[in-house]
């Protein structure tokens, strides 16, 4: 029989996880690097509810009355704007952090439901181009694998300024994930710890960015949309400056956003949550007169369900993108891998060592034996199922609010359950007309 621990009181400040962190730091002498996103409790979409229809608003009939979900991105400057059939896209995740099989599975799943995938730090692979009908090519500070041929093969270009998990930080790919193919694509020796630069090598500030975007348009003959992705920090100003620099689409990634490998102190302590970030970005676009018209807003960071999708859209996003949830849909953190996770000192539901390259699900690894375990077709089907559920859920909520297109959701449809969420999202605390900061 195990000992009775009911009399032991855990410290709030020095809880067991914190004590473990200190012990780990003392023994290893180096900061903790991990994958996944912020794990601590943050104000989020759960703190909002939809009002639904009432006497003064009438709902749409589920399944019978249409509720549109398509989004057209980048019609402002591009000759070929990108239309996605559902308001959920797959976020940029590098080949290197993910196996080729995982990239292929993401492409298959997204293409099955008519949405886009995104490359990542490390260039474009044939697997993802071949299996993604709509592919966004990231233009990152490292410029690993960057070349004009791939640039011209892209359906959109995303200039990455930052990421929610680490605004102001560069990339990291530890030596044990650098296979020969990854090393070659990045023009670097095998087995070394690769750090991707945190700043672009040939531009700084919004005036330069404007010239850079012009150059990318000249190289691609003004055919495809150009996005600018920022980690959520000074989101209102970043949105304004990205638009001023010529972005067709602004991508804002909240602090909950996932990562392949980042210092834990960065993941948990830099950036603002997705909730205020959506509202700030939408506010900037409204002020510029471009919201829902000229420039689109894509939001990411902790999107899990159709409710999250619908709430992000109601607060002003045109679409959302997902990283972590997509990997889980492919098979990450699966219960049937419990024995294998145990060997790695973890358990299903807790696995976060995406930096380590030993993923038993074959997703965040470059090990040929492990990555072989992921069947790209089956995993792609799981992702497609999941994306369909997100879409159906978002439609269900939109219909309940009487909207014939998810984009017609608006802040007026929402109320907040906490004062924090009310203040951050600027929607009233439930049952009151009160938005903190806006009087009584």
């Amino acid at each position: 029989m195990s000992m009775d621990t009911s009399h032991l009181r855990e410290s709030q400040i020095f809880d067991r996880a914190t004590i473990h962190d200190i012990q780990r730091a003392a023994s290893e002498g180096i900061y903790k690097i991990r994958g996944f996103g912020a794990k601590r409790k943050l104000p989020h979409f759960d703190d909002l509810v939809f009002l639904g229809a009432s006497v003064s608003r009438y709902p749409l009939e589920g399944y019978r009355e249409a509720c549109g979900t398509d989004v057209t991105l980048g019609a402002r400057h591009a000759e070929r704007p990108l239309t996605i059939d559902i308001p959920v896209t797959i976020a940029g995740m590098s080949f290197g952090s993910l196996s080729a099989q995982a990239k292929e599975a993401l492409g298959r799943g997204a293409s099955a439901v008519g949405t886009s995938t995104t490359t990542g730090d490390g260039g474009m692979t044939q697997e993802e181009r071949g299996h993604s009908t709509k592919l966004v090519y990231q233009y990152l500070p490292s410029r690993y694998g960057m070349n004009p041929d791939d640039l011209r093969k892209a359906d959109a270009i995303e200039v990455v300024v930052g990421q929610g998990a680490k605004p102001g930080g560069g990339g990291m790919l530890l030596g044990h994930k650098i296979s020969e193919r990854v090393a070659e694509m990045r023009t670097l020796p095998k087995d070394i710890d690769q750090r991707s630069a945190c700043r672009h090598p040939d531009w700084t500030g919004p005036d330069d960015l404007e010239i850079k975007i012009r150059e990318l348009r000249e190289i691609t003959d003004w055919q495809v949309p150009i996005y600018v992705k920022v980690g959520a920090t000074r989101t209102y100003y970043d949105t304004m400056l990205a638009v001023k620099s010529g972005a067709d689409v602004v991508v804002v990634d909240g602090m909950q956003g996932g990562t392949g490998a980042t210092q834990e102190c960065f993941i948990e302590h830099v950036g603002i949550p997705t909730l205020p970030a959506v509202r700030l970005a939408a506010e900037a676009l409204r002020e510029l007169g471009l919201h829902r018209t000229g420039v689109q807003l894509i939001v990411s960071g902790g999107i899990r369900s159709g409710a999250d999708v619908a709430k992000a859209i109601a607060l002003g996003a045109d679409a959302v993108s997902i990283g972590t949830a997509a990997l889980i849909a492919l098979g990450d953190n699966r219960p049937d891998l419990a024995a294998e996770y145990e060997k790695l000192g973890t358990a299903p539901g807790f696995y976060e060592d995406w930096q380590a390259g030993r993923d038993p699900a074959g997703i965040t690894t470059q090990d040929p034996d492990l990555s072989k375990r992921l069947d790209p077709e089956k995993a792609g089907q799981r992702l497609a199922n999941y994306l369909r559920v997100l879409t159906l859920e978002a439609q269900t909520l939109a219909r309940a609010c009487g909207k014939s297109h998810v984009r017609n959701l608006e802040p007026e449809d929402l109320q907040a359950l906490t004062i924090e969420a009310a203040a951050m999202a600027k929607v009233p605390l439930a049952g009151t007309g009160w938005i903190p900061g806006q009087g009584f």
């Binding site: 004009p148 090598p201 040939d202 330069d208 010239i211 012009r214 000249e218 190289i219 003004w222």
Partner: protein, 229 residues
């Protein structure tokens, strides 16, 4: 020969002519561009073997992502000349601003004057030959290719360098983290002589250069190197 006057032709049309995308001028192989007046992204995205001479100073990203073309700038170049070049040759007869040849994967960039800071930043296989001196943090995080500097280098040369080889004739004010002087072998001198030859700088004596590269001490994260991170 085709002359494109930027006083009367807008940038987009000029680039489409050079890129061979415009309906006319597709068969032309030699172009002269006049009145560039600091235009940005001029001759960017070329991907065919043509000769382009630009008479005057250019702005940012001239010949950006160049493939196969040979571009000569008769004047000074702004930030990021030949950035991410893949192949071909870009020659600047004057000085080049910051980040010349940034992230370029191939080809040859010749700067007959001086280059400002971060020349060859994150270069990935290009060969860069500078007749004059380079500014601070040149060859920062440089991954592959050669950087030849006939003059001096400012502080932080080769900071966090990977496998790029630097040949420096003058003095380096300071080397960046993990950059060190290496022994120069007869084979190295042959490579250097060939680079100088290709750049047309045959008056430079390969025997007068020193070689720098990565000490490879920062390749894997070690706590003992904490001071360098």
């Amino acid at each position: 020969m085709n002359t494109i006057d930027l006083e009367t032709t807008d940038l987009r049309r000029a680039n489409r002519l050079l890129q061979g995308r415009a309906r006319e001028g597709g068969a032309e192989r030699t172009f002269t561009v006049t009145n560039p007046r600091g235009a940005h992204a001029l001759a960017a995205g070329l991907d065919r073997a043509i000769d382009v001479t630009i008479q005057g100073h250019v702005g940012y990203y001239c010949a950006g992502m160049n493939q196969k073309a040979s571009v000569t700038i008769e004047g000074n170049a702004g930030v990021g000349v030949a950035e991410n070049m893949m192949s071909g040759t870009v020659r600047v007869t004057g000085d080049a601003s910051q980040s010349a040849g940034a992230t370029a994967h191939g080809g040859l960039l010749v700067i007959e004057g001086n280059a400002a800071s971060r020349c060859g930043i994150s270069m990935k296989g290009v060969d860069i030959v500078v007749r004059g001196s380079v500014g601070h943090n040149s060859a920062f995080m440089a991954q592959a290719g050669h950087l030849v500097i006939c003059g001096d280098a400012d502080d932080g040369l080769g900071d966090s360098i990977y496998e790029t080889v630097i040949f420096l004739r003058g003095a380096a004010k300071g080397l960046g983290a993990d950059c060190e002087e290496k022994e120069i072998t007869a084979d190295d001198r042959k490579i250097l002589a060939a680079l100088l030859q290709r750049a047309g700088l045959t008056d430079q004596d390969p025997g007068a250069f020193r070689r720098y590269g990565s000490a490879r001490r920062l390749y894997n994260f070690k706590i003992d190197n904490l001071g360098a991170y």
